[in-house]
Amino acid sequence: MTEHMQDPLNHPEVQLANGRAYLASFIISMLLMTVGLWLAVTHITTPLGTVLMISFLAGVAVIIQGYFILHMDISHAQVWHTVAMVLFLPLFVVTIGLTAWMFHGLYQRTMIMPPAASSMAHMSPMSH
C-alpha cells in the first residue's frame, strides 16, 4: 500500500518547507503581536476600539501563519488540508458567534445590573 520505491524525502509535503517563508511569518506575527500589546498597555483608544483592533491584528496574524507556516494553499499536496480547514472555519464562527449571541440576550434579560456594570456585559472575547 505504500510507495516502497520512492524516497520519502521527495514527498511534496517535505519539499514545501521554506525557510524564508518561516522567517517572514515569524517577523510579521511578532510585529503584529507587539503592536497588539502596545495597544492594550497604553489604552490609546476606547476599550471597544482596542478589542476590535486586537481582533483584527490577530486575524491578520493567523492568516499570515496559515499561509506561510501551515501552507494552506490549493497546491496538489495541500488542497485537502485547505478544504478541511475551510470546512471547519464557519463552524468555529457558528459555535462562538451563536453562543455569544444567545447568552448576550440571556444576560440582558436575566441579569439586571446597575448601569455602571452593564457596559461590561457587552464585551465578549470574539466580538469581531
Binding site: E3, P8, E13, A17, F26, L39, A40, S55
Partner: protein, 212 residues
Amino acid sequence: MSASAAQKVDPAHATLWARHYAGHDMIGTRTFGFWLYMLTDAMVYAALFATLGVLSHVVNLAGGPSSSAFINPVYAYGQTITLFLSVLIYGYSMVALKNGNRGGVIGGMFVAMLLGVVYLVISGIDIGNMFAHGIFPQVSGFLSIFFTIIIYHALHIIVGVVWMLVMMIQVAREGFSANVVYRLINLRLFWHFQAVIWVFVFAFVYLQGIVA
C-alpha cells in the same frame, strides 16, 4: 434499469481492473488524518473560547479579581517570543529535512524543544505568581475558564516537547524512513498549529483581559 451516465463509456474499451496499482500516497494520507485531528483540537479551543465568552460577564467574576487586575503582559509576551522562535527553528529543521540533513533536523529540533521548555518555565512562573496571590481557578467562573485555556495550551507544549524527544531518537536510529518522515510532518503540523492557537490565546485571553 440503466445507469444514466453509463452509456457514455464504451464497455469494449473500458479499463476494468487497475493492474499493478501502486497504492495510495501513504505519507499524504497520514498527514491528512493528523490534520483532521488538529482541526478537532481547534474545535475544542472554539468551545473553550465560547465558554470564555459566556463567562466574561461581570457576574462571572463572583466578586473575584477581573483579569486586568492580575495579568502581567510581560510573561505572556515572553511566551509569545519563545513559542514563535521555537516554531521558526522547527521550520528550519524541516528545511534540513528537505535537504536530507540528519544533523540539521536533530539540531533544529533540539533547539525548538529547548525553547518549548523555556516557554513552559515562563508559563509556570506566571501561573505560580497568580497562585501566590490567591488567584485560583476555584475562585470564580471566569478564573476557571481563564486557567483552563492557558493550562490546556501548556499541556500541548508538553506533548510537543515529549514528541520532539521521541522523534530525535527515531531520526537518529532510523534515518528518514517513510514512517519517520510522516511523523516529522505531523509534528510540524502540530507544533506550527500551536503558534496559531497562541495568537488567539494571547490576543483574546491576555490582551483583551488587560483591556477589560
